[in-house]
């Protein structure tokens, strides 16, 4: 039973970052109708920023995180303005192809710049884990889950309580009407993509010090983000948050009790299950079912 409790604790901690990843992707899809294949690369970008700042430039560990997020936001805004702004109103397949192209180019640039070797990032936390009765958890992981939850809360606040968030939600509901009401759709799109990218970069910057930093890390993150988003329903923030935690629980328990080799296959099993039972996801707005 202690083992189970430990698994549940690990899953909760992992779930926070998964939720961050999922929220970023689902926002971009919901508002822009763009399947963002560069999401995983932005995650890797965040982790590499962290690596470059902390290990190469000697920036303070805690200061490096906001810097990585800002860089992620900036990169997202650049991608949006450079690649997507001229494809407004294009169908979903067209933008998908562009995003796949961008994904391949970004991933291999990373590989070229950083080489295929995995790097690790030192963290300033004490080496002894935090002991809670029979459970133990490293301080770094505690820090990760706290920051992740704060970021999720901030995103909720931004989307539900601010003017920008209101404009985003309006665009989400009806792009044309929102434009008629004087909302500058272009800016909303850029802001949304930048926000989603920032969240992905944050997830990468948080998990980078826990795992290794490698150029292929983005693919796995992207695959998980897609699973989370389908689980929660494309376009739903609450769905993505819950989806992130559900995926983390299933992965953690699956890896613990079934086979660790198939840890990364659990997301796919969840997708299959959700498509069989409730194809639109747990919290989707209406999507056509055929």
């Amino acid at each position: 039973l202690d083992q189970l409790a430990q698994h549940l604790l690990n899953a909760t901690i992992l779930g926070g970052t998964y939720a961050l990843l999922g929220i970023g992707l689902t926002l971009i899809f919901g508002i822009m109708r763009v399947v963002n294949f560069t999401h995983g690369e932005l995650y890797a970008f965040g982790a590499y920023c962290m690596y470059a700042l902390v290990m190469l430039l000697g920036v303070n560990f805690f200061l490096a995180l906001p810097m990585a997020i800002v860089l992620g936001v900036a990169l997202g805004a650049i991608i949006e303005m450079l690649l997507l702004s001229r494809l407004r109103g294009a169908d979903i397949d067209t933008t998908m192809l562009v995003m796949i192209g961008a994904w391949i180019a970004m991933q291999n640039t990373e590989q070229l710049v950083w080489s295929g070797v995995a790097h690790s990032i030192n963290n300033p936390f004490p080496a002894e884990p935090l002991i809670l009765g029979p459970l133990s958890v490293s301080w770094n992981r505690v820090y990760v889950v706290v920051v992740a939850l704060l970021l999720i809360a901030a995103t909720y606040y931004l989307v539900n309580r601010t003017r920008l968030g209101k404009a985003m939600r309006a665009t989400f509901q009806d792009r044309q009407t929102a434009a008629l009401m004087g909302i500058r759709i272009d800016r909303i799109h850029t802001a949304t993509f930048a926000l989603g990218s920032g969240l992905a970069a944050a997830a990468g910057a948080l998990l980078g010090p826990i795992f290794f930093v490698a150029p292929t890390m983005g693919d796995l993150a992207a695959a998980k983000a897609f699973a989370i988003v389908i689980l929660g329903g494309l376009g739903s923030i609450t769905g993505a948050t819950l989806g992130g935690f559900i995926l983390a629980f299933v992965e953690e328990l699956g890896a613990g009790y079934i086979s660790s080799g198939y840890r990364d296959a659990m997301g796919f099993l969840l997708i299959i299950l959700i498509l069989l039972v409730k194809p639109t996801g747990l919290f989707a707005r209406k999507e056509r079912v055929g």
């Binding site: 899809f29 399947v35 690649l83 001229r86 407004r88 109103g89 294009a90 169908d91 979903i92 397949d93 067209t94 998908m96 192809l97 562009v98 796949i100 192209g101 961008a102 994904w103 391949i104 180019a105 970004m106 991933q107 291999n108 640039t109 590989q111 070229l112 693919d219 695959a223 897609f226 699973a227 988003v229 389908i230 494309l234 086979s259 080799g261 198939y262 990364d264 296959a265 997301g267 796919f268 997708i271 299959i272 498509l275 069989l276 194809p279 639109t280 999507e287 056509r288 079912v289 055929g290």
Partner: protein
Amino acid sequence: VNRYLPWLFVALLASVPLWLTDFYFLHILITTGIFIIAAMSLNLLLGYTGQLSLGHVAFFGIGAYTSALVSLGFQVEFFSGFTVSLAPKPVWFAMLCSVVVAGFTGYAIGKLSFRVRGAYFVIVSISFAEVVRLVAVNWVEFTQGPMALNNIPALTLGAGAFEISFVRKPAFFILVLIAGVCSFILISRLVNSRAGRAMIALRENESLAMSVGIDVTRYLVIATIISAAIAGMAGALYTHYFRIVDPDIFLFIYTVTMVIMVVTGGKGTLAGPIVGGIIFGFVPEFLRAMAIQPEVQWIIYGILMVLVVYFLPQGIVPAIARYGASRKQLPDADALPATSTQVPQK
């Protein structure tokens, strides 16, 4: 003249082994041919039904593994003593199996993911490919994992004095050519049939297609089955050509190669994947000759993909067809591609 042009092209290709003595060049032609077949199968989905299969390499790889395993034979033990074993079967039978198995996987994936429209099929197919790769890596007893399946037999047909072996490159080239022509005819028959018109109709306007009584989901699933089966055959050809298969066959980059072949050549045209396939079959060789790192090659692919979507959204073949039509000043209905030529705009 136009009617005989494709056959002239095939005849020209068929004569290649007679005068081409450079085996390296022949090797490039064979691998290009295999990828063109895979790209044609992807085009059926992406071009004619408008569904992007990002896990196409899964069907390709499943075909490759099925053919390898059936021709080698295998023995797997499940949980407690329940053993499945298969004696080695002839290669032609193994290749047939790979078509069936890949087609069946296509059915399962299509049936599942076309329950919902939108981005679902893309995401399900891409994660499916990843899961199949994980299985190939982890189920060592069955697939040998990263150690790869070795010594896969080559295809031989007939017996005794009439035995034809496809070990040597010229013979294999003809085999790929035959498979390619068969796939081409199958796909062109299909898209010009009632089913093909239904697929195009649903790509153009799904609600309208449904309103005239087209069972949209059914046709999507049919297209996925056929597409997966052809991709599986391409995978089987790959297996018996290289005679070694490892989990790297499931790398996403191969799907990207197929997608970029189809998109550059012209999705929704019969000739598109062939034109795109020839271009992107030879481009890596040129890049290699210029001593360019593989990463740079993929970066170039990525940028090319973006540029093609911006500047040549219909692909090369429709662009040429339109140019030809405008020169004649008479809109030649046959020369125009089956796709709508409107740029999607809102």
